[in-house]
């Protein structure tokens, strides 16, 4: 049924996803999240999407994980296991997660999706085809996406700006 690479990737991805939420140190949690993203990139390679896998590694492992780790160092949270995280809340969370898992899993297991098979002799899409799609039919979406990214980054910079420090530095200039 499933091959050994898939099983190994599943253990890495799911294990480090749990570790990213449950590790005591927030910094280790960020690193575990990056490993989980790498596991997802491995799935993309199995699924014949190497370009998306490269994009995933560049954006998630290269940018998002580093941004998260820098934020962890910047805020220096003293205690990661807080007292607000009560036992009652934890039991509720585990029950809710399990309920969703059982519900979606049983729906998936009894649906017609299980009859679907991967087409073995399907053509593998190369970068050329994706690029053609991005630049012809989806080009307005690409432009809007670029504006969204730019405004999000400018907004984040404007949010994190410190006005008091700038006022203090002005007379020296």
């Amino acid at each position: 049924m499933v091959d050994s690479i898939f099983v190994g990737l599943s253990i890495i991805t799911v294990g480090s996803a749990i570790l990213s939420l449950e590790s005591r140190e927030l910094l280790y949690g960020g690193i575990a999240l990056a490993i989980s993203m790498l596991g997802i990139a491995g799935y993309f390679i199995i699924l014949d999407a190497p370009f998306v896998a490269m994009f995933q590694i560049a954006v998630y492992v290269g940018a998002v994980a580093v941004l998260i780790i820098f934020t962890v160092m910047l805020v220096r949270a003293p205690n990661t296991v807080t007292k607000k995280e009560t036992r009652k809340r934890k039991i509720t969370g585990i029950l809710l997660g399990l309920a969703f898992l059982l519900l979606a899993g049983s729906i998936l297991g009894s649906s017609a999706v299980t009859q679907l098979k991967f087409n073995e002799d399907a053509p593998v899409f190369d970068v050329q085809e994706i690029g053609k799609g991005l630049l012809t039919y989806y080009s307005p979406v690409l432009i809007v996406l670029a504006l969204t990214l730019a405004s999000a980054v400018i907004g984040a910079l404007a949010l994190a700006r410190r006005e008091d420090i700038e006022e203090r530095n002005e007379p020296t200039n």
Partner: protein, 100 residues
């Protein structure tokens, strides 16, 4: 050889881990971790269906989705830094004044 269902099961497991984190954790950074896990699970399901159909559209959608979640993380971390400056804590139960 793997079937599409295997990848969908992994996506469902990742989404339920993300739901658990969103409900239990009160640390603002852990909430961002959970949101990222859910976003990645959706990307995995999209790529699996794109391989099955087979159609390159799914891969294009995933590229857009990854870019949008990168923007979302940038804004979220900016908000966390500002909130830490006000409250000296990243526990979201401390952020009572944001309600008013």
């Amino acid at each position: 050889m793997n079937q599409p269902t295997d990848f969908l099961y992994i996506a469902v497991i990742l989404v339920s881990i993300g739901i658990y984190g969103l409900v239990v954790k009160r640390n603002a950074l852990r909430l961002i971790f959970s949101i990222e896990l859910i976003a990645n699970a959706v990307n995995l399901a999209l790529i699996a269906f794109s391989r099955m159909l087979p159609s390159p559209e799914g891969q294009i959608f995933v590229l857009f989705s990854i870019a949008i979640s990168a923007a979302e993380v940038a804004v979220g971390l900016g908000i966390i830094i500002v909130a830490y400056r006000f409250y000296k804590d990243i526990d979201i139960t401390e952020y009572q004044n944001l309600k008013n």
